[in-house]
């Protein structure tokens, strides 16, 4: 069912986070990730989606299959038009939060995934791209 990629989930309410988790889970399983990697990907997606909901109010999560030489992976793009991240370096420090969270979302999502890229502009919004490559064959 490759035609269902890329998938896009709009984040408007808190329950949309559940939809994100579900759709990312299905995509990761379809791509053949093992159970622990599936859990890592769902958890990272959940952290990033929660951030959108908390800081920007709304946004979108896109999920697609990516490939490089002999590997395939899953890419998640989490984008919002919220206030942006003022200090990305600080936001990446475990325990740092401008809200009242635990401050684990961004650094945690980075550890759970293989690659992470943050583009953010004050007042314009934030775009976070994360990738996980499937190991083995």
């Amino acid at each position: 069912m490759n035609d269902s990629f890329p998938e896009e989930v709009a984040l408007r309410t808190e329950t949309d986070i559940v939809v994100v988790r579900k759709s990312v889970r299905e995509a990761a399983i379809r791509l053949g990730f093992g159970i622990t990697d599936v859990t890592r990907i769902i958890t990272a997606a959940s952290e990033l989606a929660r951030n959108v909901f908390l800081y920007a109010g709304s946004g979108v999560v896109r999920c697609r299959v990516v490939s490089r030489s002999d590997q395939v992976g899953l890419e998640l793009i989490v984008e919002d038009h919220g206030p942006g991240i003022a200090d990305i370096d600080r936001a990446m420090q475990p325990g740092y939060t401008t809200g009242n969270g635990l401050g684990l979302g961004l650094p945690g999502a980075k550890r759970l995934m293989d690659e992470m890229e943050i583009e953010s502009e004050a007042g314009k919004g934030t775009k976070i791209t994360v990738k996980k490559w499937r190991k083995g064959t």
Partner: protein, 88 residues
């Protein structure tokens, strides 16, 4: 806790496929509230994939008492005439 003479609360997460920091915070807050009411909270049934993931995420749930199964948790609560020793 209020309505019954309960010694504690067992939170079984065996059906939980993923646990993020928000959920972890809810668990930690529940544990604190139960503790304030004189009870112990025991988290049970965590899947290996979830344990690996939340550790990597940076969640410690350090003070959480855990058990492999609900049966063991009840056992701990029943025999815990001396207070259950929390880690840390």
């Amino acid at each position: 806790m209020e309505r019954s003479p309960a010694r504690g609360v067992v939170l079984d997460v065996s059906a939980v496929e993923s646990l993020d920091s928000f959920f972890a915070r809810t668990i930690a807050e529940t544990t604190r509230m139960v503790g304030l009411m004189g009870g112990h909270t025991i988290l049970t049934g965590m899947r290996p994939s979830v344990a690996i993931t939340i550790t990597q995420l940076g969640l410690t749930l350090g003070k959480m008492r855990t058990a492999l199964t609900v049966d063991r948790a009840f056992h701990i609560l029943r025999d815990g005439s001396q207070p259950v020793q929390n880690h840390e």
